[in-house]
Amino acid sequence: MTANTRSRNRALVRYILLPMIFLTVALLGGLRIDVETKAFLFYPPPLITLIFSVMVMLLFVRGRAVEIRAWLGSDLPALTNVSHALTLVTLYFATAQAFNTVLPERGLLKALFCFFFAWTLWNNYFSKFDVRSLLLSMAVLFGTAFFLKHMFLASLFAPGGGWAKKIAGFFLEVGTLGTIDSQTFAPATGYISFFTLLLYVAGLVLLTPRPEPEEDARALVRSYRDLPPLEQMAVREAIAGPQPSAALEAREPQKRLDTVEVTGELVTDMPSEETLVTRKPDA
């Protein structure tokens, strides 16, 4: 692939594919299907999801998933800045709608979900993140919320179902003094939500920290500087490679030998092959 083709493909992803993915998420994130009439119901993003979205955007910037100075800058052409700004705006609304799709619509459950989202995001803000861990964390967060809302709660409050489910639902409602007021939707809502989250995560994977990738050496230096000191040392050792053998030998500890003085005297009567060793008389 030539550099020109690569550059064109990157531009297509950045300026057309990414906004399309994020806007589709923004469209489908608030869509529910009524369980009785099968009519579309559109839920605009609640205020709390817009706040969560701001927190996530800050996390992206902090975790260097989005390097804001590389996306928007006075040295970039106006058209490029506008285009990048639009992509980031679509990311913001897609994030808000991704929260909207996994958030219960009302009642105590909504408050609980909001609390745990806020808790997780707030904790993440004080953690050390690299891009990969951050994206993984986001995927797990949305995946868990999806499971709880569209699989666990949806099956618990579904209109049909066996006695065990009805009894569990009844006790949950009584145990929470009726504050759990889950709205039931058609099963298609779960599928739409799943597809929406899948698209959102795919969009995040396609989103590069910088619009144009850095040269390899500069990217390496930047990544190195982001590492904790211990890992920096490991990288330095790995880059330096194995030490030369001469240097290793020089570092071997010297063996200390005790010197023993050996003296002898010639005895003429004895065969010449034997030598008597006597202790040196003390002076």
């Binding site: 550059s7 064109r8 531009a11 297509l12 950045r14 300026y15 057309i16 906004p19 399309m20 806007l23 923004a26 469209l27 608030g30 009439t37 099968k38 009519a39 579309f40 119901l41 559109f42 605009p44 058209l79 490029t80 506008v82 285009s83 639009l86 992509t87 679509t90």
Partner: protein, 166 residues
């Protein structure tokens, strides 16, 4: 040059798609038919099915209100025609009218339909010249539906049995 073209297409596409999403959330269509009808109305190409409208009118005068509403809904799937929505509201009024009381659930649905009719009509005023009706304006019908849903001491007035359906 190629990059600039891609950027320009991307910006135009993003703005168009965003406008579509805002429109969808503002109009809240209930199904794909309403989305299509809404798009046609936005392009000025939306028309109701006149044959079905006339058939519904016949049913309405024969007091087959539910059947009439089904026909009107089929004639105006996008709920974009003020006159059709007015008739739908009127059918709710007539079906819900009783000598001693007015059915609240039907009145509520009638109120929703007449509000749609008012929203769709230019200058928010709609006049339907039909000799078979006693209320010819949307605001008149709306007031009548609202009155039927109100609770007051007058509800216990035995002379209510002498009132007539409009």
């Amino acid at each position: 040059m190629q990059h600039k073209l891609i950027q320009s297409v991307g910006i135009a596409w993003t703005i168009l798609f965003s406008a579509f999403i805002i429109w969808i959330y503002a109009t809240e269509p209930r199904n794909i038919k309403e989305v299509t009808a809404g798009a046609q109305a936005a392009a000025g190409a939306y028309e109701i099915d006149q044959a079905r409208f006339s058939a519904a009118l016949d049913l309405f005068y024969r007091e087959e209100f539910r059947a009439a509403r089904d026909e009107w809904n089929a004639a105006d799937p996008g709920r974009r025609d003020a006159r059709t929505q007015f008739y739908i509201a009127y059918s709710y009024y007539r079906e819900g009218w009783h000598y001693l009381y007015q059915d609240d659930a039907l009145s509520q649905q009638g109120l929703e339909a007449v509000n749609r009719a008012i929203e769709l009509s230019p200058d928010k005023t709609l006049v339907v010249e039909d000799p078979g009706l006693q209320m010819h304006t949307a605001v008149e019908l709306k007031a009548e539906l609202e009155r039927g849903m109100e609770r007051s001491v007058g509800d216990f007035n035995p002379f209510k049995v002498f009132r007539t359906r409009k």
